[in-house]
């Protein structure tokens, strides 16, 4: 189980059990590796844990409850689809898990560290080092080349566009099949190419977890398929974890698991 519908506290439900066992697994992993005995799959270790996430938006007097207690465990190495009706809170949840937005209440743990009390700058740093993002629109900086776009998060944080960042960016562009477009301005690329560049960019800092908010929502079927194959390929070769929100059932069918939001909570499939 990677998700849980309970909105109660950790104490009695399966999340806490999972957490504990996962932690022990991650401890075990090291010893397992050293002994070369595989007791449990490495991919079962917990990467991100959301506990009773509540999000409300206040509009003057009126308060909208969007997320009403989300409990979610994302294990390492999985590719998970996030589904739900339009307006159900998929983007909101991705933004919260991706540390772009703070929940009204609830707790987040990334790599066993609590993120609740971190400052904006610290969260920003976490995003840069551990998380990747692919959005539906506005993904790239139009005045920069594909290569510069891919290198951007690393170069800006390092302060310089170094040769090794360029090299890695080129490698990633090659991986998404666009090495011949590396010097094209982002504005000169097609929609599908832009998404592939965005995927390459999301990987520049070797993230543990990549969030994709309807990455194929803007693409035709062929391009969408290409992008999904690419994500799957990266997931399998690099063990990168993906959380992908999508309306497209064929996209969801390509994932390891599907998480559904219904009425502000995670629904059991």
């Amino acid at each position: 189980m990677i998700y849980n519908t309970s909105s109660n506290n950790i104490s009695s439900d399966t999340v806490s059990n999972n957490t504990v066992s996962n932690n022990t697994v991650s401890n075990n992993t090291v010893s397992n590796n050293t002994v070369s005995k595989v007791a449990k799959s490495k991919t079962n270790s917990t990467l991100l844990l959301a506990n009773n996430i509540i999000k409300t938006f206040r509009n003057g007097e009126q308060e909208t409850f969007v997320l009403k207690g989300i409990n979610l465990t994302i294990p390492q190495g999985k590719m998970i689809a996030l589904q739900g009706a339009s307006g159900s809170g998929k983007s909101t949840l991705l933004n919260i898990l991706g540390l772009l937005m703070r929940p009204t209440s609830g707790e987040l743990m990334l790599l066993d560290h609590s993120l609740t009390n971190l400052s904006d700058a610290e969260l920003s740093n976490y995003r840069n080092r551990h998380l990747g993002f692919v959005f539906q629109y506005h993904n790239l900086l139009p005045d920069f080349t594909a290569l510069e776009n891919v290198a951007f998060p690393a170069a800006a944080t390092r302060g310089r566009l170094t040769a090794d960042i360029k090299k890695r960016a080129l490698l990633l562009l090659d991986k998404v099949g666009l090495s011949d477009r590396s010097n094209f301005l982002a504005s000169q690329l097609s929609g599908g190419q832009k998404q592939r560049v965005a995927i390459a960019r999301s990987l520049i800092n070797n993230p543990k977890l990549v969030f994709a908010d309807e990455p194929t929502g803007n693409l035709d079927q062929d391009s969408a398929k290409q992008v999904m194959n690419l994500l799957r390929d990266i997931n399998q070769t690099d063990n990168t974890t993906f959380l992908i929100s999508t309306h497209d059932n064929s996209v969801a069918a390509n994932c390891d698991d599907i998480v559904r939001i219904i009425d502000g909570k995670i629904a059991d499939v």
Binding site: L100, R129, H138, D143, F152, A156, T157, G159, R201
Partner: protein, 400 residues
């Protein structure tokens, strides 16, 4: 190159037309700054030069007061010199030696001066006589260049007077006149030269004659009344005057003290200039600030993406500060160059007599100042946009 610099440069070159207009706007303000500065400085230089070329930069006269030691407490105090004695400089040869070895002093002219009346028939006119050494007739005022009739040569028995005075008494070169000094001495002289300097104080009232002719007229067989000094740089007059005051114990007056109104006039011009300079800088700051602020709105989504990928607020802010600095620097250098060209052009426009139409000094455009102020101002102008950019909320920006 820092990556933020690369990003800033890409941003301002991405929309080259807008950047060009903005840079042109900034450089136009810089041109105005340079023009005003060069004009005001030029005017001040012109006026100062006009004045200092015709008068002594420092005048040394007998002191009204001299330092004496009081017996009871070993201090120097200033005490009045006896008013019964004739005021004169007896040891003037020595003073010439001291002044001559003072750095910055270029010319020294001993003078015997005094008041007299010029008499022709029934008519008399007051005249201020300057008795100078014949070789130094041009030392203080370049009389030779202002002679309109006759010569500037000082002969025994010759007198050179201003054109206004000559008109007043109907005198021509060769006309004999009687000079009656304030000491009661008289001498028949002949007009050998007539000058027009353009200063009514000179043209109406002053006459030059040889110092040896002046001595008996003013009853000064040995001493002189004053020494006129010219300096390499007239601006040094107050400092050098102080030095000479100490070394010669004479009353030492820099030209500025006798021309306070000139100082006041140039000061007032300077303040007017500062006012205009301030406004041009303000115009630069406002135009850069508003243009960059617009750009932060246009690039909201991009900034949102940067922030989403964990790029710090500082990086975003730095990019905008650098954009401001780029625009400021481009506008400053372009404007300074154009301003210089303009000033050179304007300075070369001459009137019929060959003098400049505008007393503009192209080399005094305040280039260093305007470049520094513009770049600093541009950086300050970018602070507000930089703050706005770094405050962009990624979620809001991306969802738009």
């Amino acid at each position: 190159m820092p990556f933020s610099l690369l990003v800033a440069w890409r941003y301002i070159t991405a929309n080259s037309l807008q950047t060009l207009l903005l840079v042109l706007g900034v450089s136009l303000s810089v041109v105005v700054f340079v023009f005003i500065t060069a004009l005001i400085n030029g005017l001040s230089i012109f006026l100062t030069q006009e004045t200092t070329s015709k008068i002594a930069h420092i005048e040394l006269e007998p002191a009204n007061k001299i330092a004496r030691v009081l017996t009871n407490d070993n201090r120097f105090v200033a005490q009045p010199v006896s008013t019964l004695q004739r005021k004169q400089i007896r040891n003037w040869q020595q003073v010439i030696e001291i002044a001559g070895s003072t750095p910055g002093v270029s010319v020294i002219s001993p003078i015997v001066d005094g008041n007299a009346f010029l008499v022709r028939g029934e008519a008399t006119q007051p005249i201020a006589i300057q008795g100078v050494e014949p070789s130094k007739v041009d030392a203080i005022t370049n009389i030779s260049s202002y002679i309109i009739k006759g010569t500037a040569e000082l002969t025994t028995g010759g007198l050179i007077i201003g054109a206004d005075l000559a008109d007043e008494l109907g005198l021509f070169v060769g006309t004999p006149v009687l000079l009656k000094s304030e000491r009661g001495a008289e001498r028949l002289l002949s007009i050998t030269g007539i000058f027009r300097v353009g200063l009514s104080s000179l043209d109406q009232r002053v006459g030059f004659l040889s110092i040896n002719v002046a001595r008996p007229l003013f009853d000064l067989p040995d001493g002189i009344t004053s020494l006129g000094l010219k300096l390499d740089d007239p601006a040094d007059a107050p400092a050098i005057a102080k030095v000479l005051q100490n070394s010669t114990q004479l009353k030492s007056t820099p030209w500025q003290e006798k021309n306070k109104s000139l100082q006041n006039a140039t000061d007032a011009q300077g303040r007017t200039g500062n006012f205009i300079q301030g406004f041009t800088l303000l115009a630069i700051i406002i135009s850069i600030s508003s243009a960059l602020l617009l750009s932060t709105y246009r690039r909201r989504a991009e900034i949102g993406i940067m922030r989403a990928t964990g790029i710090s607020r500082q990086f975003v802010a730095t990019v905008f500060i650098f954009q401001g600095i780029f625009i400021g620097a481009l506008g400053a250098f372009l404007g300074a160059a154009a301003g210089y060209q303009l000033c050179v052009k304007l300075a070369s426009i001459t009137k019929a007599d060959g003098s400049s139409m505008l007393p503009i000094a192209p080399s005094e455009g305040g280039y260093m100042l305007v470049i520094i102020l513009t770049i600093v101002g541009a950086a300050l102008a970018a602070v507000l946009p930089a703050r706005a950019a770094s405050a962009v909320d990624p979620v809001e920006a991306i969802q738009q």
